[in-house]
């Protein structure tokens, strides 16, 4: 379990770097790194299938999406970047301290959660659960994918027209 804690610290650091870093491309890469670290934790918490999805879709697809958006939108020139960086630092320097403070205060509070766990599930196979019990979610996935296709067609047609 101690390894898990170490990975969690790395996860928070990756997220912090994503938010604090000055260039947008680095932020997108930081997001991919955060996803990758999260994947490791998911593997260690008995969820390999979801971890594969996280790695391929979030670390892969969504990062590509962000990077291509960033390269499509025009980057600032050098002086602007420098001025922007200073001003960003003014807004964001509080964040690491804030995060550390939140972590410390929470670790000192002994919060009574009174969790009572349910009985373990009968069906252990992800595929069986997904295909037999969560059919409605699968239908929802199909519907939302078609919606997404429509959205891309509509939003990008407008771009081409003008």
């Amino acid at each position: 379990m101690h390894l898990n804690y170490l990975i969690l610290v790395v996860l928070v650091l990756a997220a912090l770097w994503t938010v604090m870093t000055r260039s947008l491309i680095r932020a997108a890469i930081g997001l991919a790194a955060t996803s990758a670290v999260l994947t490791i934790i998911m593997f260690r918490l008995n969820s390999p299938l979801a971890a594969v999805f996280e790695l391929s879709v979030c670390a892969g697809l969504i990062s590509v999406l962000f990077v291509s958006t960033i390269s499509l939108t025009q980057p600032l020139n050098k002086e602007e970047v420098l001025a922007h960086m200073k001003e960003r630092l003014g807004r964001f320097w509080v964040l690491p301290f804030l995060v550390i403070a939140i972590g410390l205060t929470l670790s000192f509070i002994q919060f009574k959660l009174n969790l009572r766990l349910p009985a373990p599930e009968a069906e252990k196979d992800v595929r069986a659960v997904l295909w037999n019990l969560r059919q409605l979610d699968l239908l929802g996935q199909i519907i939302i994918l078609i919606t997404g296709v429509f959205g891309v067609v509509i939003l990008f047609r407008e771009r081409l027209k003008k």
Partner: protein, 473 residues
Amino acid sequence: MSHLLILVPFCCVIILNLPIRKVMRSLAPVAAIVLSLLQVVMVLCFDCHFWQTQFGIIGTFFKFNLVVDRLAILMLLCIGIVSFVTAVIARVLIKERKERFDFASLLLISLSALNGIVMVRDIFSLYVFLEIAAVISFILIAFKANLLAYEGAFKYIIFSAIASIFLLCGTSLLLITSGSTDFSLINASLTAQAFSPSIILAVGLFLVGLFIKAGVVPFHWWLPDAYSEAPSPVSVYLAGIVTKAVGVYALIRVAVSVFGMHKSICTVFLLLGAVTIVVGAVAAITQTDFKRMLSYSSISQVGYIILALGSASPLGIAAACFHLFNHAIFKSLLFVNAAAVELQTGTRDMDKVSGLSQRMPITGLTSVLGSLSCAGIPPLAGFWSKLLIVIALLSTGHFVYAVVAVLASVVTLGYFLVMQRKVFFGKISEEFSNIKEAGLGIVVPEIILAAITVGIGIFFPVILNRFILPLGG
């Protein structure tokens, strides 16, 4: 056969997108109109064969857990009516054929998504359908492709994403205590371990998520932009049914059948409801944009629904559902009126137009009916639902909230009268002296919606015992 309500519109979209697009392109708007009308007819004959039929071949393929009760039937009726109206006015307001096709397809998909929200009995599936409806709303708001619409859509995306994250946090905390996402199982585990801190946290997070989606006051910032910058048919659809089903209906459903109306939840409902009513009404007075004023009025009316829910009596829940229905009807009517005014005059600024009643008599008359119903003037439908809300509050001993509800109603009447005087009454200005009434595609929905409002108001004594009181369960 409640499966079909989700499957048929969706399959219809797939068929419409088959490669033979030339034919399909003109067929899509008709399909949207026909399907939503079919839904209204199906719901109106609730006792017919359709609802009782057991699932034959379809049932072996799709094992969905869908339940249709009285509240769900009411919402299905609402969804049918408002989708019908939207589909009809979209034929007039959206000129280009390609856009018309896209709009009709999205309308059909959202029909199946909203039907899913209404019938589903599992909090994660609820989240899935909420998210589908939200994605469709993003696309529809950005449909017009101007900067303001994009901004409204982006604001909505950020708020909606945060809301979904709250919902998911609540879901996972409920999952860890009950081991399931099914409504009845969660309810059983909640009653078994009455309100430990983790459950309070879970319920709180879930409710905040739904409050954001419903546009209740501390979380309402996205709503006016999204409503007023969307194209006119989309505003009708969003204000009339989407946010009502996504936020308010989900709130009622979850509060009643999952969390079981606990006392602390009701206090939160009462407080937020009263604040929402007052803030929405006060903000509506100051607006000059027609659609923006209607958006704030919409926020204020959602406050009434939540206030009624907070009284926690069966009468209160019935009143909340009844007001939800009435609000869907008269707010769609008012947004259709706004669409007619914008179409004919080209502006939404209420200070620029005046005296339109002389030139657009039907729009003027129906908007008077809609506003009076919204303000709660007898004998229109809105009066009866507000009366039920006030009675429910008084009978559970919440006198202060009842007074707030009545006073805010006066404010509502005030801002609607100001709107009427500015836009429809008085002398018509030179600039608009030769405008005409909007086309048949807008006038007919206006008449239908106004007729429903008046009809429910007049026949209220008949439907009270048969339909409304059983809603409280």
